[in-house]
């Protein structure tokens, strides 16, 4: 009945509500192939659909659909930014979205993985961290470590820990929270939060899921 899309900076997540098919494609390919959706969210959404839903609203609605508990705190770590929403019984307790201090952190982690050929599932988290105010500055620190003889895996693990700790402080250091986005599939990253913290992985379709409430009762998309 409708194609729902989360057109992120580097990855596009799509849901066909008719068939239930979900898929992830590179945003550069989505652009090249003129991929469109009926309702969209994400950094590149405005040019891809007649109707746009802002990412914080999509994140909140997606979280509400996926979590049964009355209180939800969902952190979304994207390629270029970090955002969260905190609700209790539908009441807003807090939210924020930073595209500056957390800039490009997810993207940089992916870039480093590809560059060094790292299997993130096989790397153990580090107890040390690199101060990652943004992806670019963090990468500078990482290369410094490598030049000092720190093994690449350990340097990248410190970088991942730096991103995780930044994001954790950003959401107010709770005892438990839900993680949304592609970083759910990065085992090193989601194990880099403090050990005592319970991190529930919601996967990378949370924002797309959050577009479903925007459909009409018979499942259509309205403009």
């Amino acid at each position: 009945m409708a194609i729902l899309g989360d057109f992120g900076t580097t990855w596009t997540k799509l849901l066909d509500t008719d068939t239930g098919e979900r898929r992830v494609i590179a945003t550069r390919d989505a652009a090249a192939h003129g991929q469109r959706a009926d309702i969209a969210t994400g950094h590149n959404a405005r040019r891809r659909a007649p109707r746009h839903v802002n990412e914080l609203i999509a994140l909140a609605q997606g979280g509400q659909r996926l979590i049964e508990e009355p209180e939800l705190l969902v952190l979304d770590v994207g390629s270029r930014d970090v955002k969260y929403i905190h609700l209790r019984d539908g009441e807003l307790l807090g939210m924020d979205w930073t595209a500056t201090c957390g800039a490009l952190t997810g993207f940089t982690l992916e870039l480093l993985g590809n560059y060094y050929g790292i299997d993130y599932a096989a790397v153990e988290p580090s107890t040390k961290s690199v101060p990652v105010t943004c992806g670019v500055l963090g990468m500078e620190q990482l290369f410094e470590l490598v030049s000092e003889g720190v093994p690449v895996e350990e340097a990248v693990a410190r970088f991942a820990r730096g991103i995780a700790m930044n994001a954790y402080r950003f959401i107010g250091e709770p005892k438990q929270f839900c993680l949304s986005g592609g970083m759910c599939e990065n085992r090193l990253f989601h194990r880099s939060f403090p050990e005592e913290v319970e991190v529930r992985l919601l996967g990378r379709y949370v924002l797309v899921e959050g577009l479903i409430p925007e459909l009409t009762e018979d499942g259509r998309a309205t403009k």
Partner: protein, 244 residues
């Protein structure tokens, strides 16, 4: 041939009598957008200077003025006082320093009207130079409120419902009491309120505090409104059920 009309720039909200004393002079509000002004002051200010102070300097360097009046009283900030010094050294025009401690209320009919928020701010800012006769309907039960100083990018006012109440220094400006702290601190109980200040403006201290106190949303913007800030405002209004 008549005598050339004097052109007087002003900063902030100078006392009414000082502006009136300019007679038939053309008044130029240096805080506002001036078509054709160029970013000439870029290298003269620290990076941590708010967008409005930057704009004032750019305007003052771009427009030919005969005189500049600066409100450097309690209603303005240290940056404006510093800027007066800078303008005096840079330009060959007299800089008149004034302080506006007026407590005589001119009223806030625009702030409390049913007009769209963006229109309200335009009318308040134009009130000095081009006051307009507009029929105003009061909005006794505003669904939302916006606290703060006038923004550099007016698109910040777009996500709000019509009749959003104007609070903070912008309200003081309409009231012509720019240094009236009690009025600036006024926030109605139970109205979802967004608290705004320019990035790097010291008013962020109180904006953030008031947002906590009144369960509102604090945002700061440096020039152009970013997608995350706009999204935060939209989400705040939605989850506060402003549209229900």
């Amino acid at each position: 041939m008549g005598e050339k009309r004097r052109r007087v720039g002003f900063v902030g909200c100078p006392p009414e009598d000082v502006l009136k004393a300019q007679g038939v002079a053309e008044l130029v509000d240096l805080d506002n957008v001036i078509e054709g002004a160029r970013p000439r002051g870029e290298s003269l200010l620290p990076r941590t200077t708010c967008r409005i102070i930057r704009r004032i300097l750019d305007n003052a360097l771009s427009v030919e003025l005969d005189e500049i009046i600066v409100d450097e009283g309690y209603g303005k900030c240290d940056a404006a006082r510093g800027l007066a010094e800078l303008l005096e050294d840079l330009l060959d025009v007299p800089v008149i320093r004034t302080q506006n401690d007026n407590r005589q209320s001119a009223g806030t009919p625009i702030s409390d009207s049913a007009l769209p928020l963006l229109r309200k701010v335009e009318l308040i800012l134009d009130g000095f130079v081009n006051p307009q006769e507009v029929e105003l309907t009061a909005q006794p039960k505003p669904r939302a409120a916006m606290w703060g100083v006038p923004a550099a990018d007016f698109s910040i006012y777009e996500p709000f419902p019509d009749g959003t109440q104007v609070l903070g220094w912008t309200r003081c400006l309409e009231n012509r009491t720019p240094a009236e702290w009690e009025l600036e601190m006024y926030v109605p109980v139970g109205v979802p309120t967004v608290f705004f200040a320019q990035t790097f403006c010291p008013k962020n201290v109180v904006a953030q505090h008031l947002a906590r106190r009144h369960d509102g949303l604090h945002v700061d913007v440096d020039g152009v409104l970013s997608q995350p800030v706009r999204a935060k405002i939209e989400a705040f209004l939605r989850f506060k059920r402003v549209w229900d």
